[in-house]
């Protein structure tokens, strides 16, 4: 496992809590904000990184992983949260534990108005399905919040989500 230093970027530091929580399967739909974390997961021999065609696949993947005794986390962009809503009923009905790490779009200095519809309702949509939601605005809070969300999920058989704010990630630059 790579040893993230204290001064490392938050993008590196949110990997350590996944390892500490013994996450063995990571489902993801790629997002620019998650690109570093996806790289770290793919490079780790102890983690099976599973690229998904749609985010809801990751809810079902996590259920199967848990049935087999492994812990799973799910990475997505905020637009993907809407795709998960019905499949979250699987986690809720069976109390499957899961932590979702969600990179936010459609909030801070968004260029693309099509992202705003889902981005502005991401937290509300998750909470409608009784997912516990934690937001990260400051870089210093990122790793600690991910660790806390994982603890609650796997200690209590609950679904938790960490929303990594667009201000933290930096608004996407469209004109380079």
């Amino acid at each position: 496992m790579p040893e993230p230093s204290v001064s490392a970027d938050w993008r590196d530091r949110i990997f350590a809590p996944l390892k500490a929580a013994d996450i063995r399967q990571v489902g993801y739909v790629p997002d620019a904000g998650h690109s570093r974390l996806i790289e770290l997961c793919r490079a780790d021999p102890g983690i099976r990184a599973v690229s998904l065609t749609t985010e809801e696949e990751g809810i079902a993947l996590a259920a199967g992983a848990w049935l087999g005794g492994q812990r799973s986390a799910l990475l997505m962009q905020s637009s993907g949260v809407g795709n998960c809503i019905n499949m979250l009923s699987l986690a809720k009905a069976c109390r499957f534990p899961l932590t979702m790490l969600v990179t936010m779009r459609g909030e801070w200095a968004e260029f693309n108005p099509w992202q705003v519809a889902m981005g502005s309702k991401t937290q509300a949509a998750l909470e409608l399905m009784d997912v516990l939601v934690y937001r990260v605005e400051q870089e210093a809070d990122a790793a600690e919040t991910v660790a806390a969300a994982l603890d609650i999920a796997f200690n209590g058989s609950l679904v938790t989500a960490v929303l990594l704010s667009q201000r933290l990630i930096g608004a996407k630059r469209w004109v380079k």
Partner: protein, 196 residues
């Protein structure tokens, strides 16, 4: 090739009996609706995880389970409706290709649970072709019990990801209802395989 009405077809309850006859270490995930009743009609086994909802999710539950337990054969038995709703899952399975995962689709070309409305496989869609195109290279179109028995032996071998479409009659045998408490199903499954 679509599921034409002149094609030979199996009785679904006979088909599930062949698949589960000598299950050994087999772990089973069923899709919501008829395939859950089918599996329960053989025996309610703690190593069956029945989906009572989560339509489109059966193959992915099987994938997560197969990755977590490479030592055990994992069989997903689901219907054409569940498969069509989560068609992308076949692409994800094709990429991962765990050798201990088998997906069987009982294809009657109908949504049996909701009044036998035709599904896409009744006319245009060939799930065997879809699975092959998704990179699952061991694919089977099964229309008789001998083919099914041979497939069941391949499942136990855990040599490659398997996909089979099984043509079944569009009928509704009497429902056999297993427990539907999700927490119970989860916990007893995990206990049965020693991870709880």
């Amino acid at each position: 090739m679509s599921a034409g009405s002149n094609q030979p077809r199996l009785d679904r309850r006979a088909a599930i009996k062949v698949l589960l006859a000598e299950r050994g270490d087999l772990l089973v995930v069923t899709g919501l609706g008829s395939t859950t009743y089918d599996a329960a009609s053989v025996a309610d086994d703690e190593r069956n995880f029945y989906l009572w909802g989560a339509m489109g999710g059966a193959a992915m539950v099987g994938l997560g389970l197969a990755i977590a337990r490479p030592d055990r054969p994992v069989l997903v038995v689901t219907g054409d409706g569940d498969t069509l709703m989560g068609l992308g899952a076949l692409a994800t399975v094709g990429v991962q290709s765990p050798p201990n995962l088998a997906i069987v689709v009982f294809d009657n070309g109908r949504y049996a649970e909701t009044g036998m409305q035709p599904s896409h496989t009744d006319s245009a869609v060939d799930l065997v072709g879809v699975a092959r195109s998704c990179g699952i290279d061991a694919v089977f179109d099964i229309v008789d019990e001998a083919g099914l028995a041979e497939f069941a032996r391949r499942v136990q071998a855990k040599e490659r990801t398997l996909f089979a479409r099984v043509a079944i009659h569009a009928d509704e045998p009497p429902r056999v209802l297993p427990p539907r408490d999700g927490v119970l199903l989860k916990n007893r499954f995990r206990r049965a395989i020693g991870v709880e």
